[in-house]
Symmetry: C2
Subunit: 336 residues, 2 copies
């Protein structure tokens, strides 16, 4: 199959030792410019490519990073991958991708598989179903890791997150400023930091404005997904909120369509603000005000951080935690 040429063949052709050819190709300082050029020229002419397996076997490092995320087909994550791939390419690295479908078991199995040294570093956004983090503790001792967006609080690693508390607070405040008194919080499970922070932002904003905090108005929905419209629908029809904060992008359309189905007018009967990483919500009729996360920048920042770790031997001088800012994008046209 792969009719490839080896370093040794190059060496024979050039009347050099394999070692010298290797050094020339790796731009070693102890090789004359003349021979370097000779070697590089022939290598190019013969389409020589190093055998990564042999190279890595010797050299331990693999020039490959892994991304472990819940879902690929998702506005936020696909943008993040986009950024990560770009940064990796600039460094000449390869990118492996794994999706967990929100299952910790998957996460566990992937991290196990990655322990074998295939990987120089890992970028992870954890699945939200549970917070079993032991496997990460183990892994992070062996491989440089950076968590992004969905992180564990109880594990010490490098993290890139967004200001979820503040943006959730601001979104709630925005609804209140627009006259809402009964705001339905529609979010994911509050197991991970990200869920807790968003919920806390909502609660604190409600309290700070002396509104009544009704526990029933706090809807936390798992990622099984099928029931989400039903749950939202029954909550809206029973509780009759005048505002909804959808703290998860995937809930944005269900919230919207549920209100439509129930004959509620937006924004007269009810107002909706949604966390959203795409502009899709802007195309709803009427457009929704959104909390937009900087997906690309988060991926980029996380990747850059990882490569800093890979560079430094002892992780000196790399900032430990990094928080980017989401932005509350108001849709002026709707007047809320």
């Amino acid at each position: 199959m792969t009719n490839r040429i080896s370093l040794k063949q190059l060496a024979d052709e050039l009347n050099l030792s394999p070692a010298s050819v290797s050094r020339a190709l790796n731009d070693s300082y102890e090789i004359s410019t003349a021979t370097k050029e000779r070697v590089l020229a022939l290598a190019k002419r013969m389409n020589y490519e190093v055998n990564p397996f042999a190279s890595n076997l010797r050299y331990v490092k693999s020039k490959t990073i892994a991304i472990i995320i819940p879902e690929i087909a998702n506005q936020f994550f696909s943008q993040a991958i986009n950024a990560i791939e770009e940064v990796a390419r600039e460094h000449g690295f390869h990118v492996l991708i794994y999706q967990t479908h929100e299952k910790s078991e998957m996460e566990l199995s992937f991290t196990q598989r990655l322990l074998n040294g295939r990987i120089a570093g890992v970028l992870i956004s954890v699945s939200s179903e549970s917070d079993i983090s032991e496997h990460f503790g183990e892994l992070s001792k062996k491989v440089p890791m950076v968590f992004f967006d969905r992180v564990y609080d109880n594990i010490e690693t490098f993290k890139v997150t967004t200001n979820d508390y503040e943006s959730s607070y601001a979104a709630t405040q925005h609804l209140i400023d627009c006259g809402c008194q009964k705001i339905l919080y529609c979010g994911g499970l509050a197991v991970l930091a990200i869920g807790k922070k968003r919920l806390a932002g909502y609660i604190d904003a409600i309290n700070a404005n002396d509104l009544i905090l009704n526990k029933e108005m706090i809807l936390t929905i798992g990622y099984d997904g099928f029931k989400k419209s039903d749950e939202i629908k029954s909550a809206v029809s029973v509780l009759r909120p005048d505002g909804i904060l959808s703290s998860i992008e995937e809930f944005s359309f269900p919230c919207y369509s549920v209100c439509n189905e129930l004959g509620l007018q937006i924004p007269d009967d009810i107002k909706i603000v949604s966390f959203s990483n795409s502009d899709s919500a802007a195309f709803l009729n009427p457009p929704l005000t959104t909390v937009t996360q900087p997906a690309f920048e988060i991926g980029q920042k996380a990747a850059v951080m990882l490569f800093k770790l890979l560079g430094n031997k002892r992780n000196i001088d790399v900032e430990y935690n990094c928080e980017l800012k989401s932005s509350l994008i108001k849709r002026a046209s709707t007047g809320y």
Copy 2:
């Protein structure tokens, strides 16, 4: 760093030779069940993982496939990756990902890098800027490849596509059936088969209905992207079409907003049908009729095909070309 244990350490622990341990782990027939169990048990207990580099160096195959696509952050491709990752995982394979940003140079550089045997197979959707396909000819001799969605006609490989001609024809016919006489075709460059087929579908539908085929009504726009709204805007304002066929998902929102800006009412003044892989167009006001490609299924089919190739030594019995069907999804609510 990676404090890993080797096959030899396992062997020492068990008072066996490395060879036997290796055979046991690979479930060789010439090992007693008893020792197999002993080995497997200890391997599990010690969290042993084979070193893929050593293994592959010996064994040549790598249990890794690559995906090369124009963009990751795209409804169609992220769904395709989603499917591919799932299929690969079922086979115990790893997935490398590369994006070309529609640049053939990138494509070239990635394919070069993949020639080194890192990869067992490749899934590719080619960049549309040009149809330089020589590098693929070379690569496909060395590595099993499957093209999906964006393919080259002039290269003999396995392909998974959709019925672009038929769906484009049907979409055009739909607009005509709804009373459109002057339909603007708004598509990408017709360099690749996919572009040619979509354009041909439009042209043939126009001709078959005895409408006037105006070359000016055929807009082909490159992927540089910034100018697309401008080009569409000037075309619409000058040519005053009564229908638009947007043959690329990315053009769907620009078409819509351009009409809005120009004060054209949809569907009274102008009707829009767009190729689209997401449901986003359904949320426009009014919703657009769309040609929806089975993104997940295409990725899945391509991956399954690739693994068949990897299984067969001589590619026997694997269907060479596969065409899936897009569906024209009408939005009844708008009456067109």
